[in-house]
């Protein structure tokens, strides 16, 4: 192969690169003069969280059955309330039959009982503290649908879909258990109590929703001879997408 002198080519390349760069549109001009500011798009918004298991503001997406749940401000045991004491879901989640949201109980609902019951429990005392400060308990969402989903609790509850069909056996969640974990000093300590207050037992994914929408027996019960029409409607994108 013939030898070529590299110097002119290097110079040429640099020239092309420099003139190209000089003519380049400048990224900094693009936020623009908008009234509502434009936002840049991030292709992988979850990357930082995905590489940092300690990222507390992130959880596994709804594709995953999340076995660990999220740390909650209060280790609330559904087990104690539902299974041991026989409370109905709708005592606390009052709006489930009449609104889009089932509703997380207002502080007053907790205080209906806990003004008298188990006042000495440290977890209950946290509830009382929130109530007395007039602050809401900052629960963290475990059953979180994407923001483009229109979900109506009332349609499902009224149709006779049982809460457990989507939320799993909530009544068995929050049972006391004993486990070991490292504290902040790296020392292994043994803890007893409610480890996972709320766990997501279903995927909450589109295909999972569709499985039910295609086959749930309540459609036949409620719609009779219009059941096929309703099933078609239940597969319509705009039934759930907004």
């Amino acid at each position: 192969m013939r030898r070529t002198t590299t110097t002119p080519w290097t110079a040429l390349g640099l020239l092309v690169a420099v003139t190209g760069a000089a003519g380049c549109p400048d990224a900094s001009v693009y936020p623009g003069d908008d009234v509502f500011q434009r936002e840049p798009h991030s292709l992988f918004p979850e990357w930082p969280a995905a590489f940092d298991p300690a990222a507390k503001d992130w959880q596994l997406g709804s594709g995953m059955v999340d076995g660990r749940g999220l740390e909650q401000p209060i280790a609330f045991p559904h087990y104690t309330h539902v299974t041991l004491n026989g409370m109905q879901c709708e005592y606390c989640h009052q709006a489930a039959r009449k609104s889009l949201h089932a509703g997380v109980p207002q502080g007053q609902t907790c205080m209906n009982c806990h003004t008298y019951v188990k006042k000495d429990s440290p977890e209950v005392q946290k509830v009382v503290a929130y109530f007395e400060k007039g602050e809401p308990v900052p629960w963290r969402k475990v059953h979180d649908l994407p923001d483009f989903v229109h979900f109506e609790h009332k349609r499902h509850v009224q149709a006779g879909v049982d809460c457990t069909e989507c939320h799993g056996q909530m009544g068995l969640q929050g049972q006391p258990e004993t486990w070991s974990e490292k504290d902040e000093h790296g020392k292994v300590v043994t803890k007893t109590g409610v480890r996972h207050p709320v766990v997501r037992e279903t995927t909450l994914q589109m295909g999972w929703c569709l499985d039910c929408h295609a086959s749930h027996p309540s459609v036949d019960e409620n719609y009779g001879d219009k059941a096929n029409l309703r099933r078609a409607e239940l597969k319509d994108c705009w039934t759930c997408h907004k």
């Binding site: 078609a232 409607e233 597969k235 319509d236």
Partner: protein, 188 residues
């Protein structure tokens, strides 16, 4: 074929030609003597060579093409209609759920795509490509230049002299035989 154990009993005989006419003469002579278990080497697919060697036998690659095409058109039809039937209520523009005119395009493209890919597979299978493990006597860099060759991979003890004679007499510029003396190139 590369393992010694699988080598056939017999010896290799290889003749290299510089000229097409003598090469063809060699092929004809060998054929006339009933020595047909040879492989030719040629820098270009001149049809008189392939005619002389294969005598019009068609390549089975065509069956691959046909099978691929049939699979493609079927796949195209099934893909389009089954996915549409899954969402019968979603009906863009008032067209039928299974609307053949638009699906015909997909079916056509699938036919071509599958046909081409199957042909590729057929080509590789029948040509023995990748051919890195071809017998070393078939690896001759002169062939890609301008030489022709006739190679017997396993000539029997009795045939070998006849073959060598035929090659020489038809005008081969080089005739080699025996397992160790066959020209072998260093490249892969």
């Amino acid at each position: 074929m590369s393992a010694a154990a699988s080598r056939p009993v017999g010896t290799r005989v290889k003749g290299i030609y510089a000229h097409l006419d003598s090469f063809l003469a060699g092929v004809e002579r060998l054929k006339s003597e009933g020595l047909t278990h040879f492989e030719v080497l040629t820098p270009l697919p001149r049809h008189e060579i392939l005619e002389a060697v294969y005598e019009g036998r068609p390549s089975p690659v065509r069956w691959w093409t046909l099978t691929g095409g049939v699979c493609g058109i079927t796949t195209g039809f099934l893909l389009t209609s089954l996915t549409a039937i899954q969402w019968p209520m979603i009906n863009p523009g008032g067209k039928d759920v299974v609307a053949l005119p638009p699906y015909a395009v997909i079916m056509f493209e699938c036919t071509i795509l599958f046909g081409a890919l199957a042909t590729l597979v057929g080509l590789l299978v029948h040509c023995g490509l990748p051919g890195f493990w071809l017998d070393s006597s078939l690896k001759d860099p002169r062939v890609s230049d301008d030489k022709f060759g006739i190679v017997f991979l396993r000539a029997s003890e009795s045939d070998a002299p006849k073959i060598e004679a035929a090659l020489r007499e038809s005008g081969a510029i080089e005739v080699t035989s025996g397992d160790d003396t066959v020209y072998e190139v260093s490249n892969v």
